[in-house]
Symmetry: C2
Subunit: 385 residues, 2 copies
């Protein structure tokens, strides 16, 4: 593959955007990325989105957006892999540019979730799970994650409050991110007293859905202009893997094989290991997923993910800073857009643009986006030089 | 781009598959393609599908299928571009293999439409159009095409019956395709007397929806094994372009700019012109689309598409054989799968496996897949050598 670099980034705040359509949100992120890149258009546009057909009665989203942003005629498709749609679109864009067929592409993740009735959103999210073997039995998506967390606590002897540091860290970092959904400091007591959603997952274990869009422009690395104050940020590694969607079909429901495989693939391509990663934007849809992701990606021993939080190793100055801009928990989780928010946030860190949650001298950042409860996992490693 | 070749193909009949789920259909096509290719698995799987979320309550289809076909762990995503989803997935697979990141991929188009209520299917198809500017006014997808056909007849002076040869040709060719949805010879009288659907489009101008899946396995051309009786079939050209989704936003609603651009891109890559094409699988969702596609792709003058049918130039022995296996009209139109059926059928022709509808000495075949009423268009040229 020829080396690919990131020329520009853009994002909207994650929020309840009652006044903005799916199209307007996507457009804002794309325009911001074009402006950041100092270009007018790209040859292709790829969209990461999960629920436009179900919630917005609008498929064919790639072509709709490419027209809206003034690139009528240019190639455009939507890529979907449930909550992993953002990073899936990024990877497809990456391969398109790497192939030599496309010289510049904008990848935009977008989702609009708060205009629908909560029961519609819940039903929409359930389409990420196995319709015939999970959902038909009345399981919701959060219910599936609750079963996994319950089993994890039982198996490895953790208490619910041991997961608190993941959420507290995310909320603390979001305070410094103007694009975050929640700007609410979280205390241990508030975490403990939060309303139960699906035992043992309470409201403060759960990411906040929202509306939002995030975009990045990718070009061949050798086409990158040299610009003052802009390090060259390349995609050093890209890995993708899958597991069975139905959690009960996995040999070990407490181990994310797809995270392990995709991270290993990204590490190998980048020629680095977990010890070289300066920050890690992981997919904390629920606090249990932070633990599982850290373990399968090589940052903690099996069953010991919560230890990293309790030992204060996940903060901005810790051994492995995670969810540095708020993560899914507090930046928010507009599902099909999330993977692109992660990429954008890693770029912010590598550029030194992360303000109060800046990781000092960050050179190598990793993003991991998960579709379903660990079924589709993509890991990307970006490097500044 | 490194050159990419087609190693194997598979398909299910297009039909009302009451007894088979989306997953079973996709699996049948993938297994057939693997068997045809004489391999056990591929490194990645890309799915072209439009309506699984809306009609089957199942997103995350790539990962579901890759697990079902025994490739758990391998990369898998869904690509969506309305009725152009099949060819969009094919193009993304092509670029993935061309990039060097992926060494073998199976691309499968799949759709299941007949298990839903007709009004649900109609609402689903409408998501291909502009929700805010077309559908909200009560237009259906067929209604949009009827407006275009009405205008075309008015502008260029054609009568409804002048479009009959497109449908008659498609039905005649489908008689020789065991995988076609309709095996019903069509006469001029039957065409004229067919029930009106949306004036001037009657039932015999309209493609038949259906359930089905079609798949192809792609690998780098230099990795192709030499096999007795199997010519090397390469993807000589691939083009993709878009127009505004809303037809009223186009400068000329009677000209498919995206067909023109994508065909030109494919011709340029393949180093050929319309005169070199031995057969053309076009996107005859409605008979008017056959005319528009032939014109924009360089086979007829503006406004003169129906002339090719009336002059008997579109049959198997004609100047430019189209819909040689029945087309959308008679092979059927399982929307997100259609683009892959076209690819599979071109391969059948180039291999000499098209039986009673075989184009003699076919060496170069073209497939054109359309999303929406001309909004997303992909053109692929395959070559046997």
């Amino acid at each position: 593959m020829r080396e690919v670099a990131i020329l520009g980034i853009g994002q909207t705040p994650v929020s309840e955007h009652w006044d903005k359509s799916l199209l307007v949100l996507a457009g804002e992120a794309v325009f911001a990325a074009l402006e950041d890149a100092e270009i007018r258009s790209t040859q292709a546009l790829y969209v990461g989105n999960m629920l436009s057909g179900v919630l917005d009665k609008q498929d064919h989203l790639g072509t709709l957006i490419v027209d809206w942003v003034g690139m009528r005629g240019h190639e455009a498709f939507k890529i979907e892999a449930a909550c992993g749609s953002g990073a899936a679109a990024f990877r497809m864009g990456l391969m398109a540019v790497a192939s030599g067929e496309i010289e510049s592409a904008v990848v935009v993740g977008v989702e609009k979730m708060t205009d629908s009735l909560p029961k519609e959103t819940t039903a929409g999210l359930a389409t990420a799970a196995d319709a015939d073997w999970e959902i038909i039995h009345g399981l919701s998506f959060i219910g599936i994650n609750a079963l996994v967390m319950q089993r994890y606590m039982h198996e490895y002897g953790w208490q619910h409050e041991d997961f608190a540091p993941f959420s507290i860290n995310a909320h603390a970092n979001a305070m410094h991110n103007p694009n975050a959904r929640l700007h609410i400091p979280l205390t241990k007591e508030r975490y403990r007293k939060a309303a139960m959603v699906s035992d043992p997952i309470n409201l403060m274990d759960s990411s906040a859905v929202g509306d939002g869009a995030a975009a990045a422009i990718i070009v061949p690395a050798d086409a990158m202009p040299k610009r003052e104050g802009h390090p060259l940020i390349t995609v050093a590694g890209s890995g993708a893997s899958t597991a069975s969607i139905a959690v009960h079909d996995r040999r070990d429901p407490l181990w994310l094989t797809a995270a392990e495989k995709s991270a290993r693939q990204a590490y190998r391509q980048a020629g680095v290991g977990p010890e070289d990663i300066d920050l890690f934007e992981l997919h904390d849809a629920f606090s249990i997923m932070s633990a599982l992701s850290l373990e399968a990606s090589g940052f903690a021993e099996r069953g010991q993910g919560p230890r990293l939080g309790l030992d204060e190793e996940i903060g901005i100055d810790g051994r492995i800073p995670i969810t540095t801009r708020g993560g899914l928990k507090a930046r928010g989780h507009p599902v099909g857009a999330t993977g692109m928010y992660q990429i954008v946030e890693v770029v912010e860190q590598l550029r030194g643009q992360a303000g109060g949650s800046q990781v000092q001298e960050a050179k190598i950042g990793m993003a991991q986006n998960i579709g379903g409860s660990g079924a589709t996992i993509l890991t990307h490693i970006l490097r500044a030089r």
